[in-house]
Amino acid sequence: MPAESPVISGRDIIKTYGKGDGQFTALRGVSLDVKAGESIAIIGKSGSGKSTLMHLLALLDKPSTGTVSIDGQDAGRLPGRTLNTLRNKKFGFVFQQFFLNGGASVLENVILPLKIAGVHGRERRRRGLEALRQVELEDKAKNKAKDLSGGQKQRAVIARALINEPQIIFADEPTGNLDSATGAHIENLLFNLNKRHGITLIIVTHDEDLARRCDRQLHIKDGVIDVAPRPRRGVRL
């Protein structure tokens, strides 16, 4: 159930890249609140600024002007070390490309966030197998990541995003590289996490069908939130 106060809120976010003539403004003043436990789709065409917005919300980048707050705290005022810890503890990431280390075992790949967090070996292994069980990939734990199929790879990635028991999972085109059947399976997995574990879901996509399954859709067009998109079903504003 969505809570009262937002976990992430953006205020008047402007993001420009480059300087002088080459300057390019990706976001031109975006404000939004993400409540705990909700699922949000950020949709837009390629180059609309949707990925930039996700990067800013995920604290991977800083806005040129405006603020991003996590649990009411202005992230711009937090030191880099705190931001790293925040991302490590609270966020999970699923990317269109899997970013798995093909030569290492599936388990090794999945426990990477715990390794970064400094969790001990035995604990890492236990939680890694637990996360793999949630995505039904336990039997592949010892296989090399490169030997997995596309769907299995994305499940491994989701296990990796899950392992630190995050509050928020950021998913950038999570089904973009998958066929529709496998894609549907991955979608179910993500929405199950959202429903059963209350993990907030922020999905960047250009897939309208995937977006429709989310609680809320944010259409980004030319760097701003498009307030009058075409009609959609299941909208809750």
Binding site: A58, L60, G80, F95, Q97, F99, G103, K115, I116, G118
Partner: protein
């Protein structure tokens, strides 16, 4: 990320591209192998020289000659002075001779305990049990000298018995069964006096001396024997010639500090004498050897520097290849410092393996080379370890190589640490 995880991750990453890593390690291996060999050679030769200096004589002896004489003097040719006496030396050059009055003068210098003449004695032949005569030269023994012995004891200058050490190659020639059979036996030496008449002197053999750089030929004779030979060869010579010495040996306190020794030398210089310790005399030789070793070491270090560019190259390629992975780790909260540490560790590990294999192989090769060299063309120099590898210098070499590797890793590691997670993740 904990340090142990950084270490294991770096170790694992190193062998992701096996061929590239192996080639880099080979480059480091060549450098550290060469450095180990050259420094082993340096240590081996200088410790051998040190041993030989021990052979030459006590550390408490100054060789005193008139200023401007002797090996290593730097004052150029001396003008002839008819008032000064000259004597022939073993080297065949003409020098100003020292006399008994010089002995008295040198004795008066405070700090000098005793002064002995350095007799130049000439023997014609030596004859042993089988009656065959062989040429031999005599070396007056200096008290405190540790002549390398095959068997027996050093001779003593404090006894009236005439003693000598037999060079090892005279053992079979004179008809002795073996080295042990020599000790306690005696030989006869032939000496010609000033009138051309030959005399025979008997000497007791205390031991058998090994060959070395500094005692290659002559048999060591104790003071009693030396003086007897000197007395015999001086028979019939005018008195003015007999008590002339090429050099005097002045003894001082064995515990004297280098400063005190310098002071002694200065005092003697004021009185018109040049004084050198035995170490001074061998110093030039050592300096040349050290110079050669330094140049060889420099070449090895150049090889290592070349290898360090291999490290830079390898790691830069790794950083390039792992751009996305670095981005992912940063997105997952790994700090730049840890990323830097990860790649630095990988560099140091490359250095570690390269240097470990390098010093290991060098040590094996060194032992084999030592064995070959000391049993073939250098077998006449017993006690020579051409290549010596003290653990401390092995550790120093490994430390140096890993240090160079660490420095080489700085550039790629910095590049990795500075990558922005987004750019890295977008990187195609």
């Amino acid at each position: 990320m904990r340090l142990i995880d950084i270490f294991t991750t770096a170790s694992g990453n190193m062998f992701r591209s096996k061929l590239r890593t192996t080639l880099t390690i080979v480059a480091i291996f060549i450098g550290s192998f060469t450095l180990t060999l050259t420094s082993g050679l340096g240590t081996g030769i200088s410790s051998y020289i040190d041993k030989q200096v021990g052979n030459l004589g006590g550390k408490d002896v100054l060789i005193v000659q008139p200023i401007g004489q002797g090996p290593g003097s730097d004052s150029g040719p001396k003008a002839y002075d008819p008032a000064k006496k000259t004597s022939a030396t073993a080297f065949g050059t003409t020098t100003t001779a020292l006399t008994d009055s010089d002995i008295t003068k040198i004795k008066s210098v405070s700090g000098i305990r005793s002064v002995e003449p350095n007799f130049v004695v000439v023997t014609d032949y030596i004859v042993g049990p089988n009656g065959k005569k062989y040429q031999v030269s005599a070396n007056p023994y200096v008290s405190g000298t540790k002549v390398e012995l095959a068997t027996g004891d050093q001779v003593s200058n404090d006894v009236s018995e005439r003693q000598a050490l037999l060079p090892v190659d005279y053992v079979p020639a004179l008809g002795f069964a073996n080295n042990e059979a020599v000790v306690g036996k005696s030989v006869t030496l032939g000496v010609t006096d000033g009138n051309g008449k030959q005399h025979q002197i008997t000497a007791a053999l205390k031991g058998v001396q090994q060959k070395g750089l500094t005692n290659s030929g002559g048999m060591n004779t104790n003071e009693a024997l030396t003086q007897e030979i000197y007395r015999t060869q001086s028979l019939g010579l005018p008195k003015a010639v007999t008590n002339n010495y090429q050099a005097l040996l002045a003894k001082f306190d064995a515990n004297a500090s280098p400063g005190q020794i310098t002071h002694l030398k200065d005092e003697l210089k004021k009185k018109g004498y040049a004084a050198k310790t035995i170490e001074d005399q061998i110093g030039t030789f050592k300096a040349v050897i050290s110079g050669i070793i330094a140049v060889l070491n420099a070449f090895a270090v150049i090889a290592l520097l070349a290898a360090s560019f291999g490290i830079i190259n390898t790691l830069l390629m790794s950083v390039q290849e792992r751009t996305k992975e670095i981005g992912l780790m940063k997105a997952m909260g790994m700090g730049g410092g840890r990323i830097f540490l990860l790649f630095s560790t990988e560099a140091v590990l490359l250095g570690f393996w390269g240097s470990l294999i390098g010093v290991g192989v060098a040590e094996v090769v060194g032992r084999v080379a030592n064995h070959i060299v000391t049993t073939t063309f250098l077998k006449d120099l017993p006690g020579l370890q051409l290549l010596t590898f003290p653990p401390i210098s092995i550790l120093a070499i490994m430390g140096l190589v890993m240090g160079i590797a660490l420095l080489a890793g700085t550039l790629p590691a910095t590049r990795a640490a500075r990558q922005s997670p987004i750019d890295s993740l977008r990187y195609e």
